[in-house]
C-alpha cells in the first residue's frame, strides 16, 4: 500500500513488466488464521473472494494452515475445502501454538518460496497485520492493506486492490506489477461469507517448519482472555441499532439500547460518541471501528460520513432516522425517516414490541 497515494506518475511505467522469473508464480492463496483451536471467520470470507479471483485467472485456490497438530488443524483443513480451497498447505509444529511473529513468518516465507503463489491474502486482524507486514518485507513484495474490493486487471493479470485512503474520504486502487506474490489484507466482515460445500475435499501438502525453540527470541508468558464476555458482538449481529451525535445528550443513548433490547439486537454508535465517552470503544461502527454486515441496520442521528459508511454499508437493509432530509446517510440507506430520533426511537420500540406480541399470539 502506498503511504502517499497520489496520481500515478509517469515514471511508474518502468517497473510495470513482470520479470521472467516471476511468471512461474501461480495460484491464489489464503492464510487460514487458526488460533486457540479456532479459525477466524475472516479466513472463510477471504476464501470466498479468492475463489472468484482464481476463477477469473483460471488457477487454483489454496489454503495455508499453520498450527500445532491436534489443535484444530484437521478441522481447519477440512473446512478450508468446504469454503472453496482446491488444495491445502499444512505445517504442523508445536512452535506454532501461540502466535509469534518469527515462526509464522518463517513458515509462510518458506512455503511461498517453495510453491510460489501469485496472490496471497490474509485477514486484517491483529495477527494478520503483524504477519503480513513482516512477510512482505521478507519477500520484498507489495502489500495492500485493508482492501475493500479485489479484482483482476484485465490487461496485466495483476490484482487490482481497492482500499480507502486519506482517512476514508477517498478510495484508491493499487497494483503490484513487478513483484510476486501480490499480498493483500482484508478486514473482517468486509467480504461476505461464502456458503460452505461440505462435499468438497482435496489434496493436503505437508511441509515442515525448519526452526527450533532456541531460534525464537520472543516468549509467550501468558494469554489473558478478555474478561468482559459482554464484549459487543457487532460484527456478527443480525440486527444493529446505532446512535450518533443527533442523540444530543448522553442519557438518550438509552433510547438506542431500548430498541436494541426489543429487537434482540446489538447497539453501536458513530465515533464522536466514543470520544465523548457515551459508549465503549468496542461499539464504534466504521472505518476505525467495527465493520458490520447485519440483516438490518437502524441508524439514528448519524450523518453518514464516509468513515461511518464504509463500516456499515454492507448491511442488507439500512433504515436511517435524521432531522436533516439532506443528510448524506440518506444517500446509502434504503429507508429513511425525516424526524427527531428522540421521538422516533421510542415509538419504534413500541411499534416493534406490539408487532412481536401479535406474532407470538399468532404462534
Amino acid at each position: 500500500m502506498s503511504e502517499t497515494p497520489a496520481k500515478p506518475p509517469a515514471r511508474a511505467a518502468k517497473s510495470k513488466e513482470l520479470p521472467e522469473h516471476l511468471k512461474a508464480y501461480r495460484h491464489v492463496w489464503v492464510f487460514i488464521e487458526l488460533e486457540h483451536g479456532r479459525v477466524h471467520s475472516v479466513s472463510w470470507e477471504l476464501l470466498g473472494e479468492a475463489r472468484k479471483l482464481a476463477d477469473t485467472l483460471k488457477v487454483d485456490v489454496a489454503g495455508v494452515v499453520l498450527g500445532p497438530a491436534g489443535e484444530g488443524t484437521d478441522q481447519a483443513v477440512a473446512e478450508a475445502f468446504h469454503y472453496g480451497a482446491d488444495q491445502v498447505y499444512l505445517v504442523e509444529d508445536p512452535l506454532l501454538t501461540n502466535y509469534r511473529t518469527d515462526p509464522f513468518t518463517k513458515a509462510l516465507t518458506d512455503l511461498v518460496n517453495t510453491h510460489k503463489p501469485e496472490i496471497l491474502m490474509l485477514g486484517a486482524s491483529t495477527l494478520g497485520r503483524d504477519l503480513a507486514g513482516a512477510l512482505a518485507t521478507t519477500l520484498a513484495t507489495g502489500l495492500t492493506a485493508d482492501c475493500t474490493e479485489l479484482a483482476i486487471d484485465g490487461t496485466s493479470r495483476a490484482l487490482a486492490a481497492t482500499r480507502p485512503t486519506f482517512g476514508g474520504s477517498l478510495l484508491c486502487t493499487i497494483m503490484t506489477l513487478a513483484a510476486r506474490p501480490q499480498m493483500a489484507t482484508v478486514r473482517p466482515r468486509v467480504m461476505s461469507m461464502p456458503e460452505p460445500d461440505r462435499s468438497r475435499a482435496g489434496p493436503v501438502i505437508r511441509e515442515r517448519l525448519d526452526m527450533v525453540e532456541e531460534d525464537i527470541v520472543t516468549k509467550v508468558l501468558d494469554f489473558i482472555p478478555d474478561a468482559d464476555t459482554n464484549q459487543a458482538q457487532l460484527a456478527f449481529a443480525d440486527i444493529v441499532v446505532a446512535g450518533g451525535l443527533g442523540l444530543q445528550r448522553p442519557e438518550n443513548v438509552q433510547l438506542v439500547k431500548d430498541l436494541a433490547e426489543v429487537l434482540g439486537a446489538e447497539y453501536g454508535c458513530s465515533r464522536p460518541l466514543i470520544q465523548k465517552g457515551w459508549m465503549t470503544a468496542d461499539r464504534q461502527i466504521g472505518q476505525t471501528g467495527k465493520t458490520i454486515r447485519p440483516r438490518l441496520y437502524i441508524a439514528a442521528g448519524i450523518s453518514g460520513a464516509i468513515q461511518h459508511r464504509v463500516g456499515s454499508e454492507g448491511a442488507d437493509r439500512i433504515l436511517a432516522i435524521n432531522t436533516d432530509p439532506n443528510a448524506p446517510i440518506f444517500d446509502f440507506a434504503h429507508h429513511g425517516i425525516v424526524g427527531d430520533a428522540l421521538e422516533i426511537l421510542p415509538a419504534l420500540t413500541e411499534a416493534f414490541r406490539a408487532r412481536l406480541a401479535v406474532d407470538r399470539l399468532a404462534g
Binding site: 502506498s2 503511504e3 502517499t4 497520489a6 496520481k7 500515478p8 510495470k16 488460533e35 511473529t101 486484517a124 491483529t126 495477527l127 497485520r129 503483524d130 503480513a132 507486514g133 513482516a134 512482505a136 518485507t137 521478507t138 520484498a140 507489495g142 502489500l143 495492500t144 485493508d146 480507502p164 485512503t165 486519506f166 482517512g167 477517498l170 478510495l171 484508491c172 493499487i174 497494483m175 503490484t176 513483484a179 527470541v217 520472543t218 516468549k219 482472555p225 478478555d226 434482540g264 470503544a281 438490518l296 437493509r317 433504515l319 436511517a320 444517500d331 446509502f332 440507506a333 434504503h334 429507508h335 429513511g336 424526524g339 421510542p346 415509538a347 413500541e350 411499534a351 416493534f352 412481536l356
Partner: protein
C-alpha cells in the same frame, strides 16, 4: 549501562483527512490549504517513550520521513518533550509505499544506532492516511528488531538484562510477551494520554535545530530502493466513492405523529424482509 534507554519514535505528518476533497471534474485530490497534523496514532507511541524516559532515563528522538514542511510536526513533538528531532527528506523518497518507507526509516535508525545503540523503536499502530499498519513490522524485519505490535502496556523493561515484557492485544485477549532488546513496538491507541509540553520544552522546540538528513546522509547508497522506484505497489487510480444509485425511500405515517411513522416503518421493514420477525429470537425481545 545506566545511561537509560535510547528510543526512537517514528512519526508521520498527515493531512487532516476530514478536509480532503476530490475535484469533481478533474478527479484529482485537492490538497491545497488542507491543514496537517501529527498522525494521531503516533501520539500514543510518543507518550509511551516519554513515560519510559521518566521512569528509566534516556533519550527520545523523533524521526520522520517527509517533505521539508514535516518539520512542523517534529517541532510539535519536541514541544511535548522529545529530546531530538530528525527529518529525513529527499526527492528520492517521493512516492514511497510501505516497503520503501520502512527501507528509508531503517537506514536512518541504523545511523542513529551507530552513534548510540538504540534500545526501542516506536511507531503508532497505523497512519490515518496510509492506514496500513505495515511500516512498523517492516522496520523490525529489516533491522532484525524483535517485533511487538498492538502493545497496550509495557509492564517491565530491564536494560541491563536487555529484556522487555509487553502486553499485546490479540484476538479475544491479551498476550503477555517477553523478548530481548532492541525491539520495535507499535502502540495501540487509547493506551495513554499525551502530556502537555512544559513551557521550557515548548520554547526549546521553537528554537531547536532540526537535524535534516537526505538519502546520502542516512547512509543510503542504493536510491532505487527508495520512493517510487523502490515501491512494488503502484497507485493506479484515486477516486471518490460512488453514491448509491437510489436514495433512501422515505417512510411517512398515516399522520405525522411518531407512533404513526413508527408503525409504518415496522410494516415497511417486515414487508421488505418477511423473515425479519423470526430473526428476533432473544427471549427478552418477547417479554
Amino acid at each position: 549501562m545506566s545511561q537509560g534507554l535510547t528510543m526512537v519514535v517514528c512519526i508521520k505528518q498527515v493531512p487532516d483527512s476530514a478536509q480532503i476533497r476530490v475535484h469533481p471534474v478533474t478527479n484529482t485530490i485537492m490538497r491545497q490549504g488542507v491543514p496537517t497534523i501529527i498522525n494521531p496514532y503516533d501520539l500514543f507511541a510518543l507518550e509511551q517513550a516519554l513515560a519510559l524516559r521518566d521512569q528509566l532515563g534516556g533519550t527520545v528522538t523523533v524521526l520522520t520521513m517527509g517533505p521539508q514542511m514535516a518539520e512542523t510536526s517534529l517541532r510539535k513533538a519536541m514541544g511535548h518533550g522529545a529530546d531530538r528531532a530528525i527529518l529525513l527528506t529527499d526527492r528520492f523518497f517521493a512516492g514511497s509505499d510501505t516497503l520503501a518507507t520502512s527501507f528509508a526509516l531503517s537506514a536512518a535508525i541504523g545511523k542513529i544506532n551507530a552513534e548510540t545503540p538504540v534500545d526501542v523503536v516506536f511507531t503508532g499502530k497505523q497512519t490515518i492516511d496510509g492506514d496500513t499498519a505495515q511500516v512498523g513490522p517492516g522496520i523490525a524485519r529489516r533491522m532484525g528488531l524483535n517485533q511487538l505490535t498492538y502493545v497496550s502496556a509495557i509492564p517491565a523493561i530491564d536494560k541491563a538484562a536487555g529484556e522487555i515484557t509487553a502486553h499485546r492485544r490479540a484476538e479475544g485477549g491479551v498476550q503477555v510477551l517477553k523478548t530481548k532488546l532492541p525491539c520495535l513496538v507499535t502502540m495501540l491507541e487509547g493506551t495513554n494520554e499525551l502530556r502537555r509540553g512544559s513551557l521550557p520544552d515548548v520554547l526549546r522546540a521553537e528554537r531547536a535545530e532540526i537535524t535534516t538528513w537526505n538519502a546520502k546522509d542516512a547512509g543510503i547508497e542504493d536510491v532505487t530502493k527508495c520512493g517510487l522506484k523502490g515501491s512494488p505497489t503502484k497507485v493506479s487510480k484515486v477516486f471518490a466513492p460512488k453514491p448509491r444509485s437510489e436514495r433512501a425511500a422515505m417512510i411517512e405515517g398515516a399522520d405525522a405523529t411518531p407512533a404513526a411513522i413508527a408503525a409504518a416503518a415496522v410494516e415497511t421493514l417486515v414487508a421488505a424482509d418477511p423473515a425479519l420477525p423470526g430473526v428476533i429470537t432473544r427471549p427478552s425481545a418477547l417479554a
